[in-house]
Amino acid sequence: MSPDYIVTIGLEVHVHLDTKTKLFCSCPNITGGEPNTRICPVCTGQPGALPVFNERVLFQAVLAALAINCRINHRSIFARKQYFYPDMPTNYQITQHELPIAEKGHLGGTGINRLHIEEDAGKLIHTGGSSLVDLNRASAPLIEIVTEPEITSPQEAGDFLRNLRQILRYAGVSDCDMEKGSMRCDANISLRKNQDDPLGVKSELKNLNSFRSVEMALDYEILRQSEILSSGGEVIQETRLWDEDSLRTKGMRTKEESDDYRFFSDPDLPPLLVGEDFVEEVATYLPEMPDARKNRFVTEFGLSEYDAGVLTQEKDTADYFEEALKVCGLKQSKMLASWLSVEVAGQLNALGVSMSDNPVKPAHLGSLVREISQGNVSGTMAKDIFAEMFETGFSPENIIEKKGLKQINSEDEINAFCEKVLKDNPDLVEKYLDGKHGVLGAMVGQVMKESRGQANPKKVNETLRRLIEKFQ
């Protein structure tokens, strides 16, 4: 991109933790919905209300920290970050400043500086003459993950975020949905000429609503900063907003002293102590991570790298696959992979349904694949059966039984169908005997019609040939 300058990027990622209640009060922790339906004296900052820490947040934060290889601090401190804005009724955000819950991790080659717990702010809706405040999100639990400033390209930043998202989703920490705001990212970027130079002046990019916009905003910023630097100018340290419409970053009016947060430890919250035994217990909840699982899908199940990658992209899909494989057996792993990644994923995508809401139970898909592999149902029948499974949630056995769809393999039955068709179509038989063997296809079609698609086509083909030979 810019061969003249060395690019240095650091990311700050906020992740909304999946818990039942908020960080410091018992209000339900759910996003969206009617404004101000999940508020109480604590999260609206009523005088005298005191924060009470949610133990589930500790579990989720430690799990996230272990997933990105951080060291857990056995003692961490909550601090008040003072600022005045109506989205925060207490006039301070409770966060961790000097002593975060975790430090010094790494993910895929990128160092993690720290991970800390903090509360979210409310939401403002700006109307004509006033602003409306919705505090449903106020005090919702977040973790902030700060990388070391050592990412060297926009692409690398995007890869890091995609990797982080996948891992945190695997761990069940959060759904990490950037569009819904359950994962948010700010990026710091600076340029310098030589490796030995100190880091250049950075700009902080905000309003990045997708991985794509993170990459595009960084690309733009490299261009903007290198133009300034190569024309002899100086980059000023500022916050810049990514504008999705003009595909540019725009400087925000820098409020003087606006980042004077006057942190001090929150007198309402004693230190958060975490024992080694607790950390060890949480570690047992870490699932097999995506890369390891992908490799196992290749070596254990004989899948291609590509299929294994697709199936392990999401934990729910990988779990589903393994559950179904128990029913159809290891030998059918490739057929199962294809059914899951083509038919099932196709239907789910078309309806915008996630794997966890898949109406087809894994054991049912497994038995459908088993029926196919045993020759009990043909490929076309299987698709009809699957459509019915997807609609009703019934097992394939149930549907086959009810519809009488089982494939006909019995020689007597197939013989009977074939004899009838030969008797009804003497013209076709004559053509065949004249050497026009192409008409066999038409006869097979007739038999399939007579048997309502249930006769085994391969056997029909053989039987027809055998019977016609007798006419000669």
Binding site: T19, K20, T21, S26, C27, P28, N29, E34, P35, N36, T37, R38, I39, C40, P41, T44, Q46, V52, F53, N54, E55, R56, V57, L58, I77, Q82, F84, Y85, P86, E98, L99, L124, I125, H126, G129, S130, S131, L132, V133, D134, L135, E256, E257, D260, S265, P267, D268, L269, P270, P271, L272, L273
Partner: protein
């Protein structure tokens, strides 16, 4: 000692508009408070951590069980509101 400039800075951060007279009053009052706090300086605090200000040595967490609170009760205290939101002076 706080001076007028400190007061102006704090007022700016708190988004307060103070008259010249108020600035003088608050400068005096805050200095009085700080002088009082300075008497703590005479105490021996060598072994006391600044990060454990509560006297309670560890956080006692609560279980993650949701409870609903009446929105009406909270909204009743709001100086200005529409049917489901707090209303404040327009901010950007």
């Amino acid at each position: 000692m706080m001076d007028k400039k400190d007061i102006e800075r704090i007022a700016h951060l708190a988004q307060l508009k103070l008259s010249e007279e108020e600035k003088t009053i608050f400068t005096d009052q805050l200095n009085e408070v700080f002088n009082h706090i300075n008497t703590f300086g005479e105490l021996d605090t060598v072994d006391i951590s600044t990060q454990e200000p509560t006297g309670i040595d560890k956080l006692l967490p609560r279980e993650d069980i949701p409870r609903e609170f009446s929105r009406e009760k909270i909204m009743a205290n709001a100086p200005d509101k529409d049917e489901d939101s707090f209303r404040v002076k327009k901010v950007l």
